[in-house]
């Protein structure tokens, strides 16, 4: 708040100085030409003063850095807590721990009659108001991760390619060569099929944050809040929610886990190949 006030009054003072300067210059055409830019600067500072209501975090770095790519932070967006169940950030002197709760929901409206649909909608409405503290409920559609499968297929292709060239070098029989080529063609077709389209998965989760002066304090408060929310979700929907831990958390925060890199790059290269052909 103090920083915001400092920026507001600083910019207003600068604006007033330029306006006073413009007004204090003597009359005449020459001075009028000087007065206009001074007035323009005063107006720009005044607009910036008003903009500092929401944009203080941008205005200060913009003035300090004098470059087009303004760096607001030189730190990582987050780090994983030592307990591996929370995403940590720092805000001023406080630590903020954010936890993700997986909500295993496997129902579909196609299998429900009107009464069940009505009951389900009411349950979801009640779910939103489950906690007094802010809780975010999310439904995420993401690309299924086939990275490790694709890597395994690539490894197999490399192995069989090596096998084939080794057989060629030692002038192996036609039968052995044909078998190796057949295997190679099979793995290549499988890789082609895997990369043909994206498979999507749907997941529902809740997330919440807690603040603390120390990292463990923030994590403890977040764990307590998460347990309360989980019992509420469990009671309302009749499911067993669980806290997301480890690498699984990245699926909710990093875009490359939403769309896995290898899965999608394989598809892109396949599309490009098809276009070229």
């Amino acid at each position: 708040m103090e920083k915001k006030m400092f920026v507001l009054f600083g910019l207003l003072a600068l604006s007033a100085v330029f306006l006073a300067l413009a007004a204090s210059l003597p009359g005449g055409v020459l001075f009028s030409i000087i007065k206009i830019p001074l007035l323009l600067i005063a107006i720009v500072f005044d607009v910036l003063a008003f903009s500092s209501r929401y944009y203080t975090y941008l205005i200060l770095p913009l003035f300090e850095q004098h470059k087009r790519n303004v760096v607001l932070s030189t730190e990582q967006a987050y780090w994983l807590s030592s307990t591996a169940d929370a995403i940590m950030t720092k805000e001023g002197d406080d630590f903020v721990a954010t936890m993700y709760i997986n909500i295993p929901l496997y129902v579909s409206s196609t299998e429900m009659n009107d009464e069940e649909n009505l009951a389900f909608s009411k349950q979801v409405s009640s779910l939103v108001g489950i906690s007094k503290d802010p809780v975010r409920f999310t439904t995420e559609l993401y690309v299924m991760n086939k990275d490790s499968y694709i890597q395994r297929l690539r490894d197999m292709i490399n192995t069989v390619e090596n096998e084939e060239s080794a057989l060629e070098q030692k002038s192996a029989s036609q039968n052995e060569l044909e078998r190796a080529r057949g295997k190679l063609s099979m793995w290549r077709k499988m890789l082609d099929n895997v990369s043909k389209g994206t498979s999507l998965e749907l997941i529902s989760f809740a997330s919440l944050s807690a603040r603390g002066a120390k990292e463990f304090e923030a994590i403890n408060i977040a764990q307590l809040k998460a347990k309360e929310t989980m019992s509420g979700i469990g009671a309302l929907l009749g499911v067993s929610p669980s806290i997301v831990i480890g690498d699984e958390l990245l699926k909710f925060v990093e875009p490359e886990f939403l769309i896995p890199y290898s899965t999608i790059s394989e598809q892109i290269s396949k599309n490009i190949q098809e276009q070229v052909v």
């Binding site: 007033a16 055409v29 206009i36 500092s52 607001l72 932070s73 108001g129 995420e140």
Partner: protein, 278 residues
């Protein structure tokens, strides 16, 4: 408009007012008109920043090609409507759309053919059909927070009293139009219905709903183009759910990006983040 915005507006208006008072000192002949035009442009810019700051802000950053780095590895593009991440030469562009439900329709206002019950019955089916038609990743977020029952009740009663005062003044004047009276009666009945719901034990909550989608491309432009297409597709598909779908631009984009790593911990914090777009 909240008190803080009002204070900023009043303080910022002092300079243009002073400039108008000092106008004869700022030039003569044609220069006085140029000075007047500048002052009026300044007032206009302040008013635009007050109501639609994201419009002016994105115009300025687009014009001067200004981008922001909110954290290592991420970049807010100059149009202020997407966040870019470069992963080994593959670009991930993330954009947001506000998806707030239209103002709640009370039973006494809703039409006969579609009751709340029908809406509830149809909602899961509409949602599933919308999802099935989308072949790309997205997240639908509902950020909710409980509100202080007494505080909300007091606020609503205050608003109702004010509307009743307006109503009695309009009736006493004798020249109030029928439209004004009907509008006031409608507002009072809506406020009363909200008070009744709280009295019946319903917990007041505040929600912010938004959709996040990520697109990829082999270049920044390809990713942004794909994102644009995905956002349009989402707006069409989710349009059937009675939600107001507006693309998020400007500072709220930065706020929503931050929400992936830290959420507000108190309801007052949620209110301070959003005003215009969400």
């Amino acid at each position: 408009m909240d008190e803080e915005s009002m204070a900023y507006l009043l303080l910022s208006m002092l300079i243009p007012i002073a400039a108008l008072v000092l106008l004869p000192e700022l030039g003569s002949g044609i220069f006085i008109f140029i000075a007047l035009a500048l002052i009026l442009m300044g007032i206009g810019a302040i008013l635009i920043m007050n109501w639609v700051d994201f419009v002016l802000f994105s115009i300025v950053t687009n014009l001067f090609n200004i981008t922001f780095q909110p954290a290592i590895g991420y970049k807010i593009v100059r149009t202020q409507d997407a966040i870019m991440k470069d992963v080994n030469g593959l670009f991930y562009a993330t954009g947001f759309i506000s998806a707030n439900l239209f103002a709640y329709v009370f039973k006494q206002e809703s039409s006969e053919d579609e009751s709340d019950e029908t809406r509830f019955i149809n909602a899961p089916g509409i949602w599933e059909r919308a999802i099935m038609s989308l072949g790309f990743p997205f997240k639908f977020h509902v950020l909710s927070t409980g509100l202080d029952v007494q505080k909300v009740r007091d606020e609503l009663e205050g608003k109702r009293s004010y509307q009743e005062f307006q109503m009695s003044r309009a009736m006493q004047g004798g020249n109030a139009s029928e439209v004004t009276v009907t509008e006031l009666q409608r507002t009072i009945s809506v406020l009363q219905a909200q008070i009744n719901r709280i009295s019946e034990g319903e917990k007041p909550i505040a929600t912010v709903m938004y959709v996040e989608t990520t697109a990829i491309g082999v270049s920044e432009k390809a990713a942004l183009d794909a994102l644009e297409a995905q956002i349009k597709s989402l707006q069409v598909s989710l349009g059937s759910m009675d939600v107001d779908l507006t693309r998020i631009v400007g500072r709220e984009l930065h706020t929503l990006f931050d929400f992936n790593f830290k959420l507000p911990t108190a309801s007052e914090e949620v209110a301070s983040y959003f005003n215009q777009q969400s």
